[in-house]
Amino acid sequence: MAALLSPVAPGGQARTAPTPSGRSGWLARHWPFLLIVPALLVLLAVFVYPVAQTFVSAFTTPNPGMENFSWFFGSSANVAVLTRTFSTALWSTLICLALAYPYAYLMTVASPRARAALLLIVMLPFWTSLMVRTFAWLVLLQDTGVINGFLGLFGVGPFGLVRSQVGVLVGMVQILMPFMVLPLYSVMSGIDRRLLTAAQSLGARPIVALARIFVPLSLPGVAAGSTMVFITSLGFYVTPALLGSPSEALISQFMYTQVSGMLMWGRGGAMAVVLFATTLLLMGLLGLAMRAGRRRKVGAR
């Protein structure tokens, strides 16, 4: 956090300057730093300063104090926005996990060619335009769209898929799937499958061997993927704004209306603080969990 907010690149001059030979010695050792400076300056001006200023405005605009936070947490409608954002993030995480786990497992057992195809399928949408995908979902999910048409063949529907939480989840899961599949796959492909054979030779049924050997070993991938998906989904704007119902706004949409429409900078800032603090907290927890997991593994050896 300090690294993100502090206006100077930490460690730049202060920490790494114990060269006794003075200026030319510093340059001989640290000339590469000068190559990083232009990029850091641009980041400072167009990223760090604006973001820091947004956080500060939460406590200062229009008046110094916590009024923006008491406004936000004081109204049940606002808290409902926050709860809805979290529940949407949770649902997308769960759906992604339920689908990505077998998909990543399939990648580890498939032939090299099928594996390459499965990987390509995950990567391609990763890089296709967000607007294009959201527009496509709008077409597919509309009342007269393909999905309702298909359901109609079985005599169900039509459902109001667009302008609803279902539409938001369908769109978000598609966008977030790579963030779940890739960490899962990278962990699963490192699991020694001979352990499963060993368990089965000792009499465990395949399903038991899978549940007691493979699943526990894949948990770091589950943790990393879930955190990535959850965090990313908290900040979604375009998908919920276009596929969701205006009366069920998520926090990003709420921030947009407060700032762009009403110019309530302080309120936008307060929500930015809440959103960012949550993100950092979750990333910190993931980091701790990973470290604990690694230590346990080392200890077991």
Binding site: A3, L4, A9, P10, G11, G12, R15, T16, R29, H30, P32, F33, L34, L35, I36, P38, A39, L40, V42, L43, V46, F47, V48, P50, V51, Q53, T54, S57, L99, P102, Y103, L106, L118, I121, V122, L124, W127, T128, S129, L130, M131, V132, T134, F135, A136, V139, Q174, I231, G235, Y237, S252, M255, Y256, S260, W265, G268, A272, L275, F276, T279
Partner: protein
């Protein structure tokens, strides 16, 4: 028997996920050739009228021109800044300093876009940069930098530093070594970074929605506002062109990265 059942279930999930991921994108292409005025899928008749409509509509053409201009400028600026930074990171003797600077450079990927958007909007309003070309280029450059840094850092990771030592021992200065030895060898990484930077800018919506002005609208912003207003298949034509352009560029970028890995 149950093993076969499990296998079928596994592949069924795989197919479902693959369809979920790929199908929506593919729907857009046939839709853009529909002869109907509505976005009904599948189309019943074919025409290219929506492309004609796109290219004769000044709003869409302006948006396309703006997006291309901003994208190219962002690709140039972000690639120069990002390549220099990645090279500096890989050569900086202070590993701790380099690690901190690296986190810093990748931070725009982690902070939710809406937070960046609000902050940039506030600062740009004050500096009267909102809606300006310089403003768009600056904002998109920051978002594109992490991709360039990652891509060039990966290329430098497979680069044999002894080649630089060899060049230096033959009397080449630092700049000459970089230009004649290092840069040509990391070029695939630099080019794929530039492609990703262009695509990042070309596809950016959230920050652009805030800093747009009536005189400067980019293609995704134009799409966003027409999606909320009308259901005109011109949108599908625009989407198809964006799709083709970004897919070609990204595939190019990925192919360059793959070649780099094989060369190793």
């Amino acid at each position: 028997m149950s093993a076969r059942l499990a296998r079928v279930a596994l592949w069924a999930t795989g197919v479902l996920v693959a369809a979920w991921l790929v199908a929506p994108t593919l729907v857009v292409i046939p839709l853009s050739f529909t002869d109907k005025v509505s976005l009904t899928f599948p189309p019943t008749g074919w025409s290219t009228r929506w492309y004609a409509n796109f290219f004769s509509d000044s709003a869409w053409m302006m948006a396309l021109a703006n997006s291309l201009l901003v994208g190219v400028l962002v690709a140039v600026v972000a690639t120069v800044l990002g390549t220099a930074a990645a090279f500096g990171l890989s050569r900086w003797a202070s590993r701790r300093g380099a690690a901190v600077a690296n986190v810093f450079l990748l931070a725009p990927m982690i902070v939710p876009g809406i937070i960046v958007a609000i902050g940039v909007y506030a600062v740009f309003l004050k500096l009267q940069l909102a809606g300006s070309l310089a403003g768009f280029v600056a904002a998109h450059t920051v978002l594109a930098l992490p991709f360039v840094v990652t891509s060039v850092t990966a290329a430098l990771g497979t680069f044999d530093v002894r080649l630089e030592t060899a060049a230096a021992s033959l009397g080449a200065g630092r700049l000459a070594t970089f230009r004649q030895v290092t840069l040509p060898l990391i070029m695939p990484g630099v080019v794929s970074g530039a492609l990703f930077a262009f695509v990042t800018s070309f596809d950016e919506v959230v920050v652009s929605l805030f800093i747009q002005s009536p005189t400067l609208v980019t293609l995704p912003v134009q799409m966003y506002s027409s999606v909320t207003r009308e259901t005109d298949p011109t949108l599908a034509a625009a989407a198809t062109m964006i799709l083709v352009l970004t897919t070609v560029l990204v595939t190019g970028g990925l192919a360059l990265s793959a070649r780099r890995n094989r060369a190793r």
